[in-house]
């Protein structure tokens, strides 16, 4: 094979992987909320965006990058918990359209408030790692120290979430609350608290994703920073299956790689078109998602 093409393929895979883990994390945060509460959180990009502003704009002059990350994570957990308690709790059991309308409204409000408080001008976050690509045989590889930071962080977050669900008592209770809330209550599980925790966890995953995106030298933090990425994360979650955390991540990574190839070999404008075609085809073939075993949700 032509070495140029080989290097182009490798470059696309690496570039796609970097974007894909971001889509995978957005999809994961959507799945976490969907599985526990049956709500599709359209503000899943805006809530972490707001928390990132709190950590990186209010405290930026006093704290270093990692401390700002810590503040943002705490802010995200608080925003997620308060949103569930004050706004979402009253929506459980209501027609499906109600939470959709409320969360879309919340997205608009958060973006408008962020824009009025901090303006829409992109703010660059201090990146802890160089965004300059490494070279392979004199050609850029589409992989930089910052990309490795993104991929490694995503892997750590995904592994931690998986370990939480698989190996801990808390994870067992979270899964049980999502699958069988009434039975869980009968067994003494405090389902209400776990729902709040689920929103806190999802918003925390979301804020780490947002920080990774905003820390990219070429992006910067804006109130709409997650809008486009949310769309791809949503597509990944739908393809992978809203019931499947693993499916969300795998679909996110695959979508990132496909997008990169389409961008490189077709053109930039075709990326969203191909992504939507993939979504439609996958929904036609497997409406519940490629990685979801059953359409049944609760036992």
């Amino acid at each position: 094979m032509d070495p140029f093409l080989t290097s182009r393929v490798v470059t696309d895979i690496l570039g796609g992987l970097t974007n894909g883990v971001i889509y995978g994390m957005v999809a994961l945060s959507l799945v976490l909320i969907w599985r526990s509460t049956g709500i599709l959180n359209f503000a899943q990009g805006a809530m972490p965006m707001f928390a990132t502003y709190i950590g990186f704009v209010i405290f930026a002059s006093h704290l270093n990058y990692w401390a700002c990350v810590g503040v943002s994570v705490l802010a995200a957990a608080a925003i997620g918990g308060l949103t569930e308690r004050l706004m979402v709790r009253g929506l459980y059991g209501k027609p499906e359209i109600n939470p959709i309308v409320v969360m879309v409204g919340f997205l608009i409000v958060l973006e408008a408030v962020a824009a009025s408080l901090w303006s829409s001008t992109p703010r660059s976050l201090p990146s802890p790692f160089s965004p300059i690509d490494w070279q392979l045989a004199g050609k850029p590889l589409s992989l930089s120290p910052f990309s490795v930071y993104e991929i490694a962080t995503a892997l750590v977050v995904m592994t931690a979430v998986a370990a939480l669900f698989r190996f801990t008592k808390l994870g067992l209770q979270l899964r049980a609350s999502a699958l069988a809330p009434e039975v869980s209550r009968l067994l003494g599980v405090r389902v209400g608290r776990l729902l709040t925790f689920g929103w806190m966890l999802a918003t925390t995953v979301g804020v780490i994703t947002t920080i990774l995106v905003a820390s990219n030298f070429f992006t910067g933090l804006t109130p709409q920073i997650m809008d486009g990425i949310f769309a791809y994360g949503f597509i990944a979650a739908a393809i992978g299956g809203l019931e499947s955390p693993v499916g969300a991540i795998v679909a996110g990574v695959m979508l990132g790689i496909v997008n990169q190839f389409v961008d490189d070999f077709v053109n930039e404008n075709a990326v969203i078109i191909i992504a939507l075609i993939l979504l439609i085809v996958s929904l036609m073939i497997r409406p519940s998602g490629v990685f979801t075993k059953s359409t049944q949700r609760r036992v």
Partner: protein
């Protein structure tokens, strides 16, 4: 001991339970019998806090349970095995049991071993998903999951539903053995009146939400009118 006083429960304009009073003695089996729609399941759901009563009181010893949350009632030692068993099919047998042991004060490993001794088939299938168990095995799992937390009260809703007669007989024998070897208080809701009356100490018969009989199980079993008109037991 569970004491129920003048309990009235409504679903909108429909009264599912009307001034129901009964006492479930410690270490005894109280069978609650009646046809479909008699209010048996509603009674258990109200004890567990899943349904709010309109009037009346439910006490565990001296403590009123009315107004308490379901999870807090469970943490007081009232285990409820719901109709349909409520095992989580996506979980393995052991994960279901671990979930049941969450509020237990006993050591998890010891609790698991005890349940595997009581229900050997669960030990053999501990890594298997609950969805793959037979109806009888699911019922055993539901009971083991309730018992692993060492409750003082066990509420069983139609445990024999969908089970073969032989499996039902084994199940009833297990329930009886549990009561004889501990101070467990059992409220057993059953449509299979003859099986329930065979092991119960006391029986309450409900008819469209009202108590029509509240007596020793042997007396209820011997009452031809009750047997014929309310329990559907025809010689």
């Amino acid at each position: 001991m569970i004491t129920i006083e003048d309990l009235t429960v409504s679903f909108g304009a429909v009264q599912a339970l009307r001034n129901v009073s009964l006492v479930a003695e410690t270490g005894k089996i109280t069978a609650v019998l009646g046809a479909n729609g008699a209010g048996k399941t509603t009674l258990l759901r109200t004890i567990s806090g899943l349904k709010e009563p309109k009037n009346g009181n439910i006490r565990l010893g001296d403590r009123s349970l009315v107004g308490m949350r379901t999870e807090d009632i469970a943490r007081l030692g009232i285990a409820h095995v719901p109709e349909g068993r409520g095992v989580i099919g996506e979980f393995t047998v052991e994960e279901n049991l671990r979930l049941g042991a969450m509020i237990a004060k006993v050591n998890l490993q010891k609790g698991l071993e005890e349940q595997y001794v009581q229900f050997p088939v669960l030990g053999e299938r501990r890594k298997q998903h609950a969805a793959k168990l037979s109806g009888g095995e699911r019922q055993m799992l539901a009971m083991a999951r309730a018992l692993i937390a060492e409750p003082s009260v066990l509420l069983l809703d139609e445990p024999s539903l969908g089970l073969a007669p032989l499996v039902t007989a084994q199940l009833m024998h297990t329930i009886q053995s549990l009561c004889e070897t501990s101070d467990l208080t059992v409220i057993l809701v059953e449509q299979n009146a003859s099986s329930a009356l065979r092991i119960a100490n006391h029986a309450v018969v409900l008819h469209v939400g009202k108590v029509v009989a509240n007596d020793a199980a042997s007396n209820v079993a011997a009452d031809d009118n009750l047997r014929q008109y309310y329990l559907g037991l025809v010689e």
